[in-house]
Symmetry: C2
Subunit: 255 residues, 2 copies
């Protein structure tokens, strides 16, 4: 995050590829996207693109290759267990054009954990694309895998989070995005012009408007995002003042 004076800070971006028929069938609700997004933000990296693909090699290859050239980092979740539908490692090896090999350290980890019970299916979890490193973690003997800028993670949320914890502070990033929320019981359409004007007059600020209908009242939360706390707060104050001018009661926080 070294930025020569006068140049805008570099923005680091990431993509997520969620792999699994169970997500696309609606059977399982993804629980990793939002967690990864917030974790990345703390690292100074913005989650910018997500794809969900089925357990089909060609579709995994296509998604991973599109994402790894367009973004600084790619994370995948799912498909790294011991069963026949776990094809993520083979697919990402294909995406990189390298063979799959057994990683000695991964095999040692599995052997230490399972002992005599290390069967052929479990040994599958020691397979990695040639040239990959491990992302060891506190929770599972089976490690995550890094090859190039691609991080191959578990789909089970607790394991995925343990793998991210192992990467905490280790990825090069830029400035984290700060956010502040203000709100009012007011129709979105009444503040539309105000929001647009505040965004235009505060460089580097994004304003999102999120309407709701709760307890019989309409309203909206307005989320102001920026890497610069000063500009973010100036924009928030301008929205609060503008809401008051429109005759509604501004709320400094979320409704």
């Amino acid at each position: 995050m070294n930025t020569p004076a006068g140049q805008p800070p570099r923005i680091y971006t990431a993509a997520l590829v969620i792999i699994g028929d169970e997500i696309l069938s609606g059977r399982t609700q993804d629980a990793n996207l939002a967690y990864l997004a917030k974790w990345l933000n703390v690292q100074g990296i913005r989650l910018r693109h997500v794809r969900v693909v089925p357990d089909v090699e060609a579709e995994i290859v296509s998604a991973v290759n599109a994402c790894r050239t367009a973004h600084d980092y790619v994370f995948t979740t799912g498909g790294i267990g011991p069963t026949h539908d776990d094809i993520t490692i083979d697919s990402i090896a294909a995406a990189f054009g390298v063979p799959v090999v057994v990683h000695p350290r991964a095999e040692a980890l599995l052997r230490a954990y399972y002992g005599d019970k290390l069967n052929e299916a479990r040994l599958r979890m020691a397979r990695v694309p040639d040239g990959a490193d491990l992302v060891e973690n506190e929770l599972s003997a089976a490690p995550g895998v890094r090859i190039g800028n691609v991080f191959i993670m578990a789909g089970i949320p607790s394991v995925m989070r343990a793998m991210l914890a192992a990467l905490d502070g280790k990825l090069e990033g830029g400035l984290p995005v700060l956010s502040r929320t203000v709100a009012a019981h007011i129709a979105e359409s009444r503040v539309a012009q105000l929001l647009e004007s505040v965004e235009k007059t505060h460089a580097g600020v994004q304003v999102g408007s999120y309407p709701f209908w709760k307890d019989g009242q309409t309203g909206a939360n307005f989320v102001i995002r920026s890497t610069d706390a000063h500009v973010m707060n100036a924009a928030a104050e301008a929205i609060l003042a503008g809401i008051a001018e429109l005759g509604a009661t501004p709320v400094d926080g979320e409704l």
Copy 2:
């Protein structure tokens, strides 16, 4: 769903493009993917691909154009409200290379609902890509929009569901995918070979394995999917029998 005798039934596929910075920042948990997936399945259409993109026109255009050529149907959610960050209509018009026009029927619907309160921001919700049709719904005066094979839906889950309800039974589809779940308190790795073999010997069946750790016990659910109830049930029985042979107690249902 007319299928000449002897030919495999045509498979209809759909993609979903989720539009919104609030999903990518982790602020909002998507609640539409799983619902759409299940609804599509009832229509005989499979959700096959999902992308999440930010509120940036070029990224919306790119995702919609990639998806509408690769799939029978595309659904988008988000970005069709009255504020400046609602750019979905303009972006999809750009994807189709057509101008944005005010749809007279949409304007009439909004006028009937808002009366004197129909301001400029709300009138934005009557704008559609030229050539589009409306998807009127029971819940919101602002309609969904259809252009070509692309359905532009609200991001708010209740409104999105009302828009889907309006499309119930109206899209051409094939055979719905049936599913049956069996389970056991058994390590995934012990059934890996069994699952692979059952999938191979039952044409048109997919078997997914979903491990869990609950109340101090490991186990897994095995989801068998097929458009053919007979083959699906034969595969389920084979897995149940195989689990018993391995010395575990098979469960005909989900754990």
